[in-house]
């Protein structure tokens, strides 16, 4: 769900709650107003009934002839009032009570009519009028009292309900907000994690099916970017390859021209001085030619190795073991140069898929470089470790040699680049770089003059498929 929708939904929920409580309050208020209106009317009626009762007294006790007329006129006006505000009364009390009150008033009016007709003042008439009057007044008082109680109840109930619903709203709003903000924060957190992962160099596509929210949009964007980066990377690799070919051609020209020139010069001298040369000298000259052709052969073989690599035979290998085996190959060189080895090889490393022969070639290249950089009495340190975070096995090969000037570092893996005074073909690290790349790994170098050099080889775990596809 999109963040915007989450917020809108949460707001809607809160609004509905507020609306419900507001409606309830308004409804209660209306009910109370109706009841109050009734109480107002009832009070007027009660006053009129009281006056009627007083007139009864005047008629029977003080023989006031006009008293019955007053009662009649009061009854008439009361009936008018009751008719005119019938709706207001019926809304507050039910129609049954209204009718009862009306019938009591009518029967009272009937008794008054009878007494007036006969001008009766006997006890029976007095008792009957008094009884009807009392019944009417008491009934009116009773419904008035009941409605007052009713109003109190409504006020009390409203107060309670408003009080509790206020806290309920607060609680629910807080909970809904918490849930919604958690959902939003979770999305933002995931976005943040992705951003961190990208900034730490992970440009791979995100495989999980993207949710339909902002996170999903970002995953789509990242995947599009990843594709674009991959295209760019391929272009870059292609252009680097072209640049490498340029360097390669220049290097080949120079590297092959030198032994060719040597052969040519030996041949020219041999021809010029043939008669003067002793037999031994002639053989010596031809040996020089042979050595130079070997030199050309080595260059050509190295080039072929790189240009037409054999399909690597990948087997599951423990790097620590492979390093121990490789060190045996260079043991003699290490002893001659009086170089100590310090090994810190991790036990139970996860296995990596490597072509043992090629990987040994890489290790030998780097170790021989290290030995040559240290000349004598140096320390060669090799350590292996597993990086759980990146799922790779790392190997550091460190020497205490003279180091490599900073300006040479970018060219270290270029073909025919050599910092050795003599005898370096400049192809060793170039070939090593190609081998490591074919294994889906990477090779880095850190060095500064005087403080030695560290080569770090990183190989991914279980990358047989990746390496075989190269």
């Amino acid at each position: 769900m999109r963040i915007e929708r989450k917020i809108v939904l949460s707001d809607m929920f809160n609004l509905i709650l507020i609306f419900l409580i507001g409606s309830f309050a308004i409804q209660n208020l209306n009910l109370m107003l109706t009841k109050f209106r009734f109480i107002e009317i009832a009070d007027d009626l009660n006053v009129a009934f009281l006056e009627m009762r007083l007139s009864e007294k005047n008629y029977f006790l003080y023989h006031d002839e006009n008293a019955l007329l007053e009662i009649q006129s009061d009854i008439e006006s009361t009936m008018k009032i009751m008719n005119s505000v019938k709706n207001d009364i019926v809304r507050a009390i039910d129609i049954k009570q209204y009718n009862t009150l009306g019938s009591y008033l009518k029967s009272y009016a009937g008794v008054v009519g009878q007494i007036m007709k006969h001008k009766a003042r006997d006890k029976k008439s007095e008792w009957s009028l008094r009884a009807e009057g009392k019944k009417l007044k008491e009934y009116s008082d009773r419904i008035t009292r009941e409605e007052r109680i009713h109003i109190s109840e409504i006020i009390y109930k409203s107060k309670q309900i408003l009080f509790y619903s206020f806290f309920a709203i607060l609680l629910i709003a807080a909970m809904v907000n918490r849930v919604v903000s958690k959902m939003i924060l979770r999305s933002i957190k995931e976005i943040e994690n992705m951003a961190k992962s990208i900034s730490s160099g992970n440009f791979k596509k995100i495989k999980t099916s993207p949710p339909k929210d902002e996170l999903g949009s970002i995953i789509h964007a990242i995947n599009a970017m990843s594709d674009e980066l991959k295209n760019r990377e391929e272009e870059l690799i292609q252009s680097k390859k072209l640049a490498s070919i340029g360097i390669l051609i220049a290097g080949v020209a120079h590297e092959i021209n030198n032994p060719l020139n040597n052969i040519s010069m030996v041949a020219q001298t041999y021809m010029d001085l043939y008669e003067k040369l002793t037999k031994e000298q002639r053989i010596e000259f031809m040996e020089k030619v042979e050595i130079q052709t070997e030199r050309i052969k080595t260059i050509v073989n190295n080039l072929l190795d790189f240009a037409k690599p054999k399909e690597p035979t990948l087997i599951m290998t423990d790097m620590s073991t492979l390093i121990r085996q490789t060190l045996k190959l260079v043991q003699n060189m290490l002893e001659i140069s009086n170089i100590e080895t310090e090994l810190d090889l991790a036990q139970n490393l996860p296995l990596v898929y490597v072509d043992v022969h090629q990987m040994q070639q890489v290790l030998v290249n780097i170790i021989v470089n290290a030995i040559q950089a240290m000349s004598t009495h140096g320390i060669l340190s090799i350590n292996t470790r597993f990086s759980k975070k990146d799922n790779i096995v790392e190997t550091d090969i460190k020497d205490t040699g003279k180091g490599i000037p900073v300006e040479f570092l970018p060219h270290l893996f270029d073909p025919f680049f050599s910092t050795k005074d003599e005898g370096g073909t400049g192809l060793g690290l170039w070939v090593s770089y190609g081998i490591i790349k074919k294994h889906d790994g990477s090779i880095k170098v850190e060095s500064s003059p005087g403080s030695g050099t560290v080569f770090t080889i990183q190989l991914p775990i279980l990358s047989k498929k990746g390496a075989a596809n190269e």
């Binding site: 060719l260 020139n261 040519s264 020219q268 001298t269």
Partner: protein, 120 residues
């Protein structure tokens, strides 16, 4: 008195073959495998012609040429290189190189060039 020729090349065979061939023509020849030792020697003795390789570790042929032209203007410099690169040739000629030979070098042509340099 025989003319003195200096050969500088990090390829040992070049030095050896040039020395044998030039000594046949009665030149006095000294060879050096790098620019540094050659320049040190130049401070001690005067040479008539310096034949130097262009691309060498440390002090290269262009630096040798520059030093020679600054300090020993009478000495002629002949450049040889395995880099048959026109740009570098132009750069070398700008620096007043007497002659320029791409490898493989024809010894006869080199001898002719040395002779020409000495007769100027």
């Amino acid at each position: 008195m025989s003319k003195r020729i200096m050969i500088i090349d990090d390829e040992k065979i070049v030095c050896e073959m040039a020395k044998i061939s030039l000594e046949e023509d009665s030149y006095e020849v000294e060879t050096f495998l790098n620019g540094t030792s050659a320049l040190e020697r130049l401070e001690q003795r005067k040479f008539d012609v310096v034949v130097t390789d262009l691309k060498m570790k440390g002090i290269d042929g262009l630096q040798v040429l520059k030093t020679v032209k600054e300090n020993y203007p009478d000495t002629k410099v002949i450049m040889i290189t395995a880099f048959a690169n026109l740009d570098i040739a132009i750069e070398a000629i700008k620096g007043d190189v007497f002659d320029f030979f791409p490898k493989p070098v024809k010894i006869k042509e080199l001898k002719a060039s040395i002779q020409k340099a000495l007769s100027e």
